[in-house]
Amino acid sequence: MSILPSTATELTKAFSTGQISALEIATATLKRIGNSNPTLNAFISITQERMLAEAKRVDQARARGAALSPLAAVPYAVKNLFDVEGLTTIAGAKVLATQAAARHDATLVQRMQHAGGLLAGTLNMDALAYGFTTENTYYGATHNPHDMRRSAGGSSGGSAAAVAAGLVPIALGSDTNGSIRVPASLCGIFGLKPTYGRLPRTGTFPFVNSFDHLGPFAATTQDLALAYDTLQGPDKRDAACAQKPVAPTLVQLNLGVKKLRIARLTGYFDQYADATAQSAAHIAARALGVNDEVDLVGVAEARAAAFVITAAEGGSLHLDALRERAEEFEPLSRDRLLAGTLLPAAWIQRAQRYRRQFLQRALALFDRYDLLIAPATPVTAPLLGQAEIQIGKLTLPTRPNMGLLTQPLSFIGLPIAVAPIWPDGPLPIGVQLIAAPWREDLCLRAAHALEEQGIAICQIIASQS
């Protein structure tokens, strides 16, 4: 086969019909990564030996006539906060680089392997997942495949860039305040942040336990749903993981949105979105036949409370290391972690209580609507090193504010898919498709409806091997 298919769905089809072997797929994938990564800097480690061994096992299973797993021969990669047996989980942080190697794969890596996936490597990120631009002082910046001068977003920037560059069809990332949705938006791909507690975090390095989510990135909604369905299932080793059975979404993708009640979020979500970001939300709303607009009250306060809890929980998690080796921490986030350790407990308690109030207010909206739409980022991809972003007449520091539109929503754990829109010019921007807790199926159906209409498109910047 001269040209390697770019999606997981096409790859499994080509593999299942004998057009290509898993070993050929793995070899071609490794070649692509070898060609592109020196300039892209999406991968921190390439698990070549493991990938080839997994490919051989998948080929042997097919030769034996075994039933094919759903992701048979599909390459994937994971943010480097997922444990991968034999590798040190550095979470983008020099301060963790001397830790022992992981003895087991993270639960979600195990599930991908069990489904026939081929692990290509681990991906770059903001140190300790604290950032929205994947500008990492020790491991370098990840570049945006659509414009190499620009940020891929963060903190799962390596994951999004690897998919957008066509290096792997599926990547896994984490989202505490927007770290799946921001890079998906800036790199123009699909991403899913499931409901808080849906996917187990066992074997991943935490950031803010009460906000941490894991989820997939993909170039199509079919691949996104395929990956998400593979990752689902309870795991009692993660105390926050709901013991819920798998709720398949792939089979529901084509159900459409005609019967769904959908509204576009206004107020804060317009105020902190530039003209392009607002345009993206309008385009998505129009394509989904949405006329209703609704204002969620108290979003700015929710974002502020999330910001403060993040600093406090993150600082608390790293307090011992901050005492002993503060100089090894990422300079771009170290001082905020230090400040976070000093916050009065009454403020944190108040922020958590406000979180409950805000959650109840948001849940009330879902009595009237099944789905809400908002931009994913205030602006398209900023330049690497760009200190400030411009939102209308407002000038704000780039690094903390790329999550302005995502942070208030992960604060209350709602499931959200991001779909890539191209309002004008060469850069994409994502829209958030937001549902009530546990209704990932609705987020994915809406993303699929936009994709089917040609409104949400992932333009892979691939160099075919």
Partner: protein, 61 residues
């Protein structure tokens, strides 16, 4: 009303209380970050809350 001038002293004292010993030249950056967190906190601290509004649960089943 928050006394902004109290922030540097609070930060320096709280750092010592946490056994976090920073070079004085580094303290200013932490004070700036703490000032930002104070500003953020003020946004939600003024929101009225009922006594029965306890910290948010996770969606655990």
């Amino acid at each position: 009303m928050l006394d902004e001038k109290a922030i540097p002293n609070y930060v320096i004292t709280a750092l010592a209380l946490q056994d976090l010993h920073l070079d004085p030249s580094r303290q200013e950056a932490v004070i700036e970050q703490f000032r930002l967190l104070v500003q953020m906190s003020q946004r939600f601290m003024s929101q009225p809350l009922d006594a029965d509004e306890e910290p948010a649960p996770v969606f655990r089943l």
